[in-house]
């Protein structure tokens, strides 16, 4: 079948050596079973993991994350009530108010780590996986893979979920608090992000092949 020949090609392209980026130890690579994790014998860092999730499944997950992300960003997160007066806030209200309240640094940090970077990460991942399904490299593959690597630690949606929880508890001391759909969307997003945080992106380098972009149909 086509799939199996592709797998063989991918296996042949897999390099035999692996260098631990935490301690510089050279390991010879061995095939991993589903769910198995290879650890460095010297320092104990994770060298490689086999999630056993197909590219199609990952792509489906990324598309779901994109929809949930739109909801989390657009929908109000919490509504506060005081004497019959109500105020609802979305992520953008939060960023806008920080900007006009002399905390531009915080506004920029929040916009970057809660909106721009997570969105960029999800879009790039979706784009790369769309092509990787057929073992191809998407246009801009190299630049995007490098970009994805650098975006890594700068997405903080999961911290925001906990922050929202703390805010609700604090506000509840003085006000009526009504959680809005946005907070549930954020909680779902947190789960999805945890699911692909464990993903080993470097495998995309091995599993896809360079092709002539001009020759593509």
């Amino acid at each position: 079948m086509e799939a199996s020949s592709r797998d063989i090609a991918a296996a042949a392209a897999t390099p035999a050596l692996l260098i631990c980026e935490q301690c510089d130890t050279v390991h010879s690579r061995r095939p991993l079973a589903k769910g198995e994790v290879a650890e460095c014998a010297r320092c104990g860092a994770v060298l490689e993991r086999c999630r056993g999730m197909s590219t199609d499944a990952t792509l489906a997950l990324v598309l779901t994350a994109l929809v949930v992300f739109a909801q989390a960003t657009l929908w109000p997160i919490v509504t506060l009530g005081l004497n019959g007066q109500y105020v609802a806030a979305t992520l953008w209200d939060m960023i806008r108010l920080m900007w006009f309240d002399h905390s531009q640094v915080v506004a920029v940090l929040a916009a970057a780590t809660l909106f721009v970077f997570p969105l960029a990460k999800t879009l790039i991942l979706g784009w790369l996986l769309l092509y990787a399904r057929s073992g191809r490299r998407a246009p801009g593959f190299r630049t995007l893979m490098v970009g994805l690597h650098h975006l890594g630690p700068w997405t903080m949606s999961e911290v925001f979920v906990l922050g929202a929880l703390v805010s609700i508890v604090k506000a509840h001391l003085y006000f009526d608090v009504i959680p809005d759909p946005g907070i549930y969307a954020y909680a779902a997003l947190m789960l999805l992000i945890t699911l692909f945080a464990g993903m080993d992106l470097t495998r995309l380098w091995d599993e896809t092949r360079e092709e002539n972009v001009e020759a593509a149909p």
Binding site: L18, S103, L109, V146, S167, L173
Partner: protein, 212 residues
């Protein structure tokens, strides 16, 4: 040859971005910049100026951390009653007013994690500079822990931002961010850069025999 050969000794370099195993350029090329054939990122035997950069960022972060704790991060006003909160008073308020569990979480994220980062990176910098073979595996683990939990310190910054957006009932009730929160945000970002500039491979350099 050791049972666990290191790339440096074999004349190899692992690309940090894509994991490609590359042959290190010969010494005759001196400080010529070598880039990864697969992803194009610059290859480094060790991260450049790791000690100087990490120290500089760590000290800068610490200088930001002082006003972050001393200055109030948030002003709450209700019916003309103005109250300025610091990070610590926010934790105390949560504890006293009924959420000790959450108070512990906020205390860990805002106070313990930054302190752990300063102590851990400081210890790593000093012990690696001395080529110490002491507790290498534990120190490697400590570094990974710092990388893993570092960004959770942003918690309090988001709490202040969200409360500001929520609590605005005209003159009756208002929450405003105060400069402390800006310093705190900067502390988190600077410590994250500091831990990125540190090279954990340095832990394993130096005297080989003193461990195991």
């Amino acid at each position: 040859m050791n049972a666990l050969p290191r790339a440096d000794a074999l004349g190899l370099i692992g690309c940090h971005v894509c994991g490609q195993v590359c042959r290190a350029a010969g010494d005759e090329e001196g400080d010529g910049v070598q880039s990864c054939p697969r992803c194009g990122s610059t290859l480094h035997r060790r991260k450049p100026a790791a000690y100087a950069r990490t120290w500089a960022l760590l000290i800068a972060a610490f200088l930001m951390y002082i006003p972050a704790n001393v200055l109030p991060i948030m002003r709450t006003a209700s019916l003309g009653d103005i109250d300025d909160n610091t990070i610590l008073s926010g934790v105390v308020e949560l504890w006293v007013k009924g959420s000790p569990g959450l108070a512990v979480i906020v205390f860990c994220a805002s106070i313990m994690v930054p302190m752990l980062k300063f102590l851990a990176l400081g210890t790593l910098l000093i012990s690696c500079r001395r080529g110490s073979g002491w507790a290498r595996r534990q120190r490697a683990k400590l570094y990974r822990l710092v990388e893993l939990i570092g960004y959770w310190s942003m918690l309090d910054v988001f709490v202040v931002a969200l409360l500001t957006a929520l609590v605005r009932f005209g003159y009756f009730s208002l929450v405003e961010p105060l400069p402390g929160v800006v310093y705190f945000g900067l502390t988190v970002v600077l410590t994250m850069f500091a831990s990125m500039c540190f090279d954990p491979r340095l832990i394993w350099d130096g005297k080989e025999d003193s461990d195991d």
